[in-house]
């Protein structure tokens, strides 16, 4: 038979029905014989019941509309960033390099700073305008 300390450490799992059958039997057997541990089990059950005294909160009426609005706003920002700002910045950077560093922009197939920069924008969906745009620019630079 396990000692009281070991049994008490198992009491929470015992109450929550989380013990394997063999350990469960051991605990049950011990509780049948040990009044102190049985009292401990009883007070733990009382505590668990007591925790039900915290009432549930309901979300405010605006919770769902506010959440959906947050998503819509994020989608809008993401679209502008992904389809307009990022390609525009990439194009500007490329144009800048072409004007001020033309030799670098057109040398060493695919290894130029411009291409290296453009390759950092490789996470557009394959069919998106941005992706086509980037591939066109890359094609030009190579």
């Amino acid at each position: 038979m396990k000692d009281c300390r070991e049994i008490r450490e198992k009491l929470s799992a015992f109450i929550d029905n989380e013990l394997p059958a063999s350990e469960r039997k051991l605990v049950e057997g011990h509780l049948y014989e040990c009044t102190a541990c049985a009292q401990e089990e009883s007070s733990l059950r009382q505590l668990i019941d007591l925790m039900d005294e915290i009432p549930d909160e309901s979300p405010s009426g605006s919770f769902i509309p506010a959440t959906v609005h947050r998503v819509v706003s994020w989608k809008r920002c993401d679209y502008v960033k992904g389809h307009i700002l990022t390609p525009a910045l990439a194009a500007l950077r490329w144009a800048f390099s072409l004007v001020f560093y033309p030799s670098e922009a057109n040398s060493d197939r695919g290894r130029t700073p411009v291409n290296a920069y453009l390759q950092s924008f490789d996470d557009f969906p394959p069919e998106s305008l941005s992706s086509i745009y980037i591939s066109l620019i890359e094609g030009d630079a190579v």
């Binding site: 505590l47 007591l50 979300p59």
Partner: protein, 178 residues
Amino acid sequence: MAEVAKGDLSAFREIVEGYQNSLLNYVYRYTGDRTAAEDIAQEVFLRVFKTAKEYRPLSSFKTWLFKIATNLCLNELRDDKMHRNTVNIFELNEAGFVALAEKRPSPLRELENQELSSTLKNAIQSLPENQRVALLLHKYSGFSYGEIGQMMNCSISAVESLIHRARHGLKKQLTPYL
């Protein structure tokens, strides 16, 4: 989730409707702040939408959702000056639990001055982070020890120990009610 991954807002709305109560109550009991809880819960749903394409049903959707919520709550508390010493429970392994018990006013004083539910909330708030997470996920969100272990990256026996210690801690503070 497949529909949400395609950007379907009505599918997303269904998910929010289905989980808003359980998620809000979890976050509220975790943070103890009703206003912050609503804001964090909305942020959790936004992250679900943002990362829907990355979701792989290795565990249940609910487990995934509550793991996001727990991480966000931890970050929120970490940003809070009142909780400078919190750590990410997901960075801990089963041997590395850190006791983070906070200094609270005397439990007896609290019991004298506050209603039961308020006392309970405070007692829960005073538990170390990892004990509080395990206890709340089990008691109020209905997760099994195994599911909690998945979320916290620890073994079932570690979860068992966390919940046991959490209840032991609560029992000490709530003795007059038992």
